[in-house]
Every structure is written in C-alpha cells, then in structure tokens.
C-alpha cells in the first residue's frame, strides 16, 4: 500500500463519523520502490490530498522531506512534485496496522495489502 492510499482511507465502522481520519500507522515496515513520475496525477492530487495529515503521518514514520505547508506554486514546483512523488507513490507500507483515532479499530496491513473488512456488527 502506497502512502497516497493511506491518505484516502478513513475508519468506516458504523457510527464512527468524526475524528476517523487519518488512521494512525503503527509498527509499519516501509519499502521504497521506484515509479515513473506522472505530473498530471500529482497535480490532480494536490486538490485531494489532506496535506496536514500527510505531513503528520510522514513525520511519525521519520519521513521529513515534505515542507510543513504546501507551497503556493505546488503545481509547477518541480522540486516539490518530485518529493511528493517519492513520498506518496514510491513509499510502500509492506506491513503494519492502522488504528482509528476515534474508535480504536485496528486495520491490519499484510504483504502490502490492507484488510478493511469489518465484522458484521460494525457495518
């Protein structure tokens, strides 16, 4: 699972509607994997990313490359797009867990795949 995907996930336990994002990453194993940079995609993502959450998540993982605030010229700032690409598309979470900050539900990640299924009573 790439870090970009973590940024789109929220807890979906029934009734858990507030403070359910971002899921807190714990005990994660990371892996870097090169990918082709796609400027169209990165620019499109600028309006979708919860940037603060991304930066906070990265800091907990000791990834300190992103500026605290998104640059005003982000869409045409090659250096920033480069860093963003490396962080959100080339950084994979191979294993670990994601914990809901609100209800504490734990979602496991194994072999790079998050299991987001809930028990029947949680849906």
């Amino acid at each position: 699972m790439r870090l970009i995907t973590h940024n789109m996930l929220q807890c979906h336990v029934k009734g858990c509607n507030a403070n359910n994002f971002p899921l807190e990453l714990q005990e994660v194993v990371l892996e870097q994997e090169e990918a082709e940079l796609n400027e169209d995609f990165l620019r499109n993502m600028l309006g979708k990313i919860e940037y603060e959450a991304l930066v906070a998540t990265c800091l907990k993982l000791d990834i300190n490359d992103l500026p605290a605030a998104m640059p005003a010229d982000a869409a045409y700032n090659d250096e920033f797009l480069q860093i963003l690409h490396r962080v959100i598309l080339e950084t994979h979470i191979k294993s670990g867990k994601m914990v809901c900050p609100n209800c504490q539900h734990i979602y496991a990640i194994r072999d790079g795949i998050p299991n987001m299924l809930l028990a029947e009573h949680e849906v």
């Binding site: 789109m8 995609f41 919860e50």
Partner: protein, 326 residues
C-alpha cells in the same frame, strides 16, 4: 439413462427463506465461492471488455479511480495514465492484484473505507448482481457514488436476464445460481453433457431446493481443500474451458445440488471409477439477473446521479452515471 445434471441448482434465495440473513447468503454463495475459485477465476479473466476499456482510456490523464469489486485487477492497469485503487471482498483475488503490483485492498462494497468525494471516477464491473436484495443493490451503488466527487462518472456492468449467449436462462427467473466448474485433474472420460442451463426457483421445486440449501450449508471447504485445489488448478490451467465440464449424475438434480455448493463436490464420482482422476468440483454463485431498465431504475432510486449513457454488451446491461450536485 442417467439424468443430465444441468450444472445448476435453482435459487433458494427468496424472501420466504427465513433461516439465512442476506449477509449469510452472500457469504456462502458469493464470498466463499470466490475465495475458493479465485485462482481459476482469475486465469479466465484477462481480456478487458471493450466498453470498460474505452471508458478507462478516454479518462483524462492523472485521474484517480476506484475499481470496486476489482477481482484480479484486470482493469487497473488498462490506462497507465490513471491511478486506480482496487477493492474486493475476496482476499484471495486481492492477493493476485498485489502480486501484479496493483494498489488494492480487501473491502466490502457496502462499506468502502474511502473518504467521501475522493475519486474522479469509479467502475463496478459484474459486481452489483451479486447482492441479494434490491435494497442492497441500491446501497452498493450509493456507496460508490459517495466516494466519487460531484460530476465524477461511474461505469456499472451487470448480467442481463435477456442474454442470448452460451447460457440458456429461464427468462422468468431473475435470482439464480450459476455454477462454476473447477478444472479436473484428468480429462473427462465421458461425452460432454448438454450446455449448462442455469435457472431459478420454480414453485414446485422449492421444497427440494430448500432441502438442498440446508444440506449444503452444513459443509464448507477447508483451508487444506483450498490449497489442494490451487495445485490442481495450476496443473490444468491450459486445459480450462469455462462451463464445459462433464457432469452427469444418476440422482435427481436437486439432490446432487446439495453437495454442489461452496463445498467441493464430485459430480462424476458415481461413474468415475478411477480414483486417480478427481472430478471437477462445482461451485454455485448467486446472481440477480437484471431486466432491461432495471439498472437505471436502481440508479434513479439513489437520487444522487444522472444517467449519461447506457447499453447492452456481451450479455450485460451497462450504464455510465454522473454524480449529481447535491
């Protein structure tokens, strides 16, 4: 002369069957089946359907999409200029996506784990017909619309009741079991049976059907059986032809059906003496076959989208819907 097993059992999934919840039915007749047949299913699913391919290749570069019920992920890499995230209920199918390097997760279509309005588009290919009730089908469409942004487009494909392809459906019955025949270790020794002819429940059959459902629900495939199955599959991959398995039985079709659900059965054992030639197990999946206009009606019930385009292709009804301003 032995009775030809039509490779199907009629549907026990009617409102008057009180002993299983919709969740339990989908678990047994959809999720469990896909878990077991995943490798074989995946080996038969590689060619993108043209309508889906066109939908994906005409998306603007850089768009991000959700493939809800992505199976083995055959559509995720169709357009390399898009970023697509796949989800499926079956962890075995999602593992295949993972091995292919796709971004994928195990998730329930009725409870997607994504932020609302995140995706530029979504696809739901051959998924909605696996939900047991109209309410659940509408809920599944609503959940996809939730995660798509306003004006985002969703392509939906569902199996058609009116299909004229290789399966000869009873046009009066929409809720059916469709068998999935696993490959055999050895070639069948007997002549091929008539084509599979799925059909649904007729009133006179219901009693037998309920007995069959009761019998089948008491057993399920174990992990070990699943592993064995995978080995059989890998050895026979080249020989596979879908729905082309000899299945004759001396029993009533309904009683043979009792063993032909999510548990593995041996439809040819009554006549196959050679123990070194295991028979092809048959798994029955639940489908709701859509009538013309029915998909559009479900979409309009959500009150959250407009229909942009619709059509019929390869035994399926499809439509492209656009999320409305709210």
């Amino acid at each position: 002369m032995s009775h030809k097993n039509p490779l199907h059992i009629p549907s026990p999934f009617q409102a008057n069957e009180p002993d299983m919840t919709p969740e339990q039915k989908e678990q047994q007749y959809v999720h469990s089946v896909y878990q077991v047949i995943a490798p074989h299913f995946s080996a038969t699913r590689y060619k993108p359907w043209p309508v889906v391919e066109e939908f994906l290749t005409t998306m603007p570069a850089g768009y991000i999409g959700a493939d809800v019920g992505c199976g083995n992920g055959k559509y995720i890499g169709v357009n390399p200029n898009l970023f697509m995230v796949g989800s499926d209920r079956s962890s075995n199918l999602i593992s295949i996506c993972g091995e292919r390097g796709h971004e994928a997760m195990v998730a329930d279509g009725l409870a997607l784990p994504y932020r609302s309005g995140f995706f530029d588009f979504a696809i739901s290919i051959a998924v909605i017909h696996h939900f047991i009730s109209p309410e659940r089908r509408v809920a599944a469409i609503e959940e996809i619309l939730r995660v798509v942004r306003v004006q985002g487009r969703v392509l939906i494909f569902v199996w058609a009741l009116e299909q004229t392809g290789k399966r000869d459906f009873d046009k009066d019955v929409q809720d059916v079991f469709v068998p999935w025949a696993m490959p055999k270790k050895a070639e069948p020794k007997k002549e091929k049976s008539a084509k599979s002819r799925p059909q649904g429940v007729k009133k006179k059959d219901r009693k037998a059907v309920e007995a069959a459902a009761a019998a089948s629900s008491s057993s399920s495939a174990t992990e070990d059986q699943t592993l064995d199955q995978k080995e059989v599959i890998s050895e026979n991959m080249e020989k596979l032809t879908l729905q082309d398995t000899t299945t004759t039985t001396t029993n009533e079709s309904s009683s043979s059906s009792a063993t032909a659900s999510t548990s593995m059965s041996d439809p040819t054992s009554s006549e196959t003496a050679d123990p070194a030639a295991p028979a092809a197990p048959v798994y029955n999946r639940y489908y709701h076959l859509f009538q013309k206009g029915e998909l559009e009606e479900l979409v309009s019930r959500t009150n959250k989208a407009t229909i942009v385009q619709q059509g019929y292709d390869r035994d399926n009804w499809w439509c492209i819907v656009e999320k409305a301003q709210n």
